[in-house]
């Protein structure tokens, strides 16, 4: 009897202990987010001013004189919008084909496998690949090259996220439309896309956020310039690279503007991430429950 009681106590102690270290881990992870945000805000805020977001670099900017990173902000927005548009043009057909024709079949799993593998390829490899493509077709570092490579980086993220929401769509609506004589294409475009719009928007914004923050892929392909880009064929600055280059400066003022640029980038990315929740909640009103 005594032994039985002792064993009973021990496994409950283990239970308590495991639960405690799980909670500690949870606070550790949440604390890491807090620590990152606190570091970026507290170090970035002092150097952040209106000039940073309304001016391009002026003479001597990289030695600490006046100017801002508007060229990089605009460049990043162009790059990410272009890359996201291109990625949508490919992701949507892929996910609709997976939904309408492949479903959970073996071939569907092969395509999902290839998307997951693409997702795992690091952006520096996409950048190197983009570089070989540019040499092959004679394209120089430009907004266009950056957009194409960012589209490659975003494609698997967007397509897999869309696939995850679309494959979970209840079959009732689809069956109802098919029973009324719709073709599979009509079901895909008029029923699936409309019903799944909130999830599709979330996927697009997820990929957009990943694209706007990516540095390694545009390093090779988009180049860098102090002017605001005006043509697809010209090189463009981007915010992640602006952060990266300013960090490497020996001038403390420039480094601090690097922290401020990191804060701007963080604000953009977090705003995209948070607004995607809000937008998809709003759009949910227009779907069939």
């Amino acid at each position: 009897m005594g032994m039985k009681k002792k064993r009973w106590e021990r496994r409950h102690l283990v239970e308590l202990f495991m639960k405690a270290i799980m909670l500690v881990s949870l606070f550790l992870v949440a604390g890491a987010l807090g620590l990152i945000l606190w570091t970026i805000i507290s170090r970035g805020l002092p150097a952040l001013n209106l000039d940073m977001v309304t001016q391009t670099p002026k003479g001597g900017f990289y030695m600490g004189r006046e100017g801002g990173v508007l060229n990089a902000i605009i460049g990043s927005i162009y790059l990410a919008i272009g890359g996201t548009m291109l990625a949508i043009a490919f992701s949507l057909p892929i996910t609709l084909y997976l939904k309408a024709y492949l479903g959970d079949s073996k071939w569907g799993d092969y395509i999902r496998l290839s998307l997951d593998v693409l997702w795992g390829i690091p952006s520096i490899v996409y950048g190197a690949f983009g570089f070989t493509l540019m040499i092959a077709v004679g394209l120089r570092a430009s907004l266009l090259a950056g957009i194409i490579v960012l589209a490659l980086v975003e494609l698997p993220i967007m397509a897999r996220a869309m696939d995850e929401v679309i494959r979970r769509m209840p079959v009732d609506l689809e069956h109802a439309a098919l029973a009324l004589g719709s073709t599979k294409f009509e079901v895909a475009v008029r029923v699936v896309v409309r019903q799944m719009l909130p999830g599709i928007v979330t996927s697009v914004l997820l990929a957009f956020g990943r694209g706007i923050g990516d540095a390694a892929s545009v390093l090779f392909t988009a180049g860098y310039t102090d002017r605001i880009v005006t043509s697809l064929m010209r090189p463009t600055a981007s915010l992640p690279l602006a952060v990266f280059f300013q960090l490497g400066s020996p001038y403390p003022e420039v480094q601090q503007r690097g922290y401020a640029s990191a804060l701007i980038l963080t604000i953009i990315v977090l705003a995209v991430s948070l607004s995607s929740r809000w937008i998809s909640a709003r759009l949910n009103k227009y779907t069939v429950k």
Partner: protein, 329 residues
């Protein structure tokens, strides 16, 4: 409702019908099916294209030097025609290993907590936190590493290690800066944690509740149920999640580059600086057309990254797909 697609309208002889004929709609369906099919092949084509393109561009260096000499050569001196990848490969492996070792225990515990213990409320708070952590760009992680982690390693961890663990080579302090493998590993650990947590959480949800209920009903505690019943079912999935995270760490560029020190030596301690492959590529892309074979060597480095990551990813994804498939059966 507005028409989002234009359909070819066929009119009957009396001119009354305004609806597209079923023949036209069937044709449209066939065209769409064929177009979508071609687009759907794109991911597979891309993987093949990327591999071939990098291989062809790396071919000159593979022809100029024996493969083993490239992989195991210690000396990297492009101007003298010496391209030994060993310090860079080892640098990548060290940084990845430290990052994964630091990330796995807390990530697994968080995933288990969220999957098996947490209330819906806790989950709905934890999800956005993990999403935000995953959304932060690599370069911002790099800035955080530079401002917070490097000083922490230099000012706190290194002195502690110097005092208590100095006799162990793995923890020896061979250079005074905080830049190095440990700083990169800590940053990487935070970066890959959301991935491990979300994949492991999903793997846990493939285990049917009947198994848990049966175990709990005979008096087992939650943790006993997890350890004896749930974990054995999904061990392959957890290993796959870790491999997936390792491959993510393996290719991480900017964040690591900022804090790792970028010194091409063979590391012996976690406080040493290192020079991983992605950092090598990113740091030198500007000069790579000016020295013979340099571009081939750097694209060869990208090829090494690609091949290792392809292998890791294919294996882990297949394991995860099988687990999920089983849960539907």
């Amino acid at each position: 409702m507005s028409e989002t697609i234009s359909l070819k309208v066929e009119t009957q002889s009396d001119g009354r019908s305004i609806r597209p004929s079923s023949v036209a709609r069937a044709r449209q369906d066939q065209t769409a099916k064929r177009t979508f099919f071609i687009v759907t092949l794109l991911p597979v084509i891309l993987i093949v294209m990327i591999t071939i393109a990098l291989f062809l561009r790396a071919l000159p260096i593979l022809n100029a030097h024996p493969f083993t000499q490239l992989l195991f050569g210690d000396v990297w001196k492009p101007s003298a025609g010496l391209f030994g990848f060993k310090p860079f490969i080892l640098g990548t492996v060290w940084v990845t290993a430290v990052g994964v070792l630091l990330a796995v225990p807390p990530s697994l515990l968080v995933a288990i907590y969220l999957a098996e213990y947490a209330h819906t409320m806790t989950r709905s708070v934890a999800k956005p936190i993990l999403d935000l952590l995953a959304a932060i760009p690599p370069v911002v992680y790099g800035v955080w590493g530079l401002l917070a982690i490097v000083p922490f390693v230099q000012g706190v961890l290194a002195p502690l290690s110097d005092r208590w663990l100095d006799s162990i080579p793995l923890f020896a302090i061979n250079q005074p800066t905080g830049f190095g493998i440990l700083a990169a590993g800590i940053v990487l650990a935070v970066m890959i944690a959301p991935l491990i947590i979300s994949v492991v959480y999903e793997v846990f949800s493939t285990v049917p509740n009947e198994l848990r209920n049966a175990s709990l009903a005979v008096g087992a505690t939650r943790w006993q149920t997890i350890r004896r019943i749930v974990l054995p079912q999904i061990l392959p999935g957890i290993i796959a999640a870790i491999v997936l995270a390792a491959s993510r760490a393996f290719g991480e560029t900017i964040a690591v580059l900022i804090v790792v020190g970028n010194v091409a030596n063979i590391p012996t301690s976690i406080f040493d600086s290192a020079y991983p492959l992605p950092a090598l590529i990113a740091n030198n892309y500007g000069d790579m057309m000016s020295i013979p074979l340099y571009d081939a060597a750097l694209l060869g480095a990208a090829l090494i990254l690609l091949v290792v990551i392809l292998i890791f990813n294919v294996i882990s994804t297949l394991v995860l797909q099988r687990l999920k498939r089983r849960s539907w059966a």
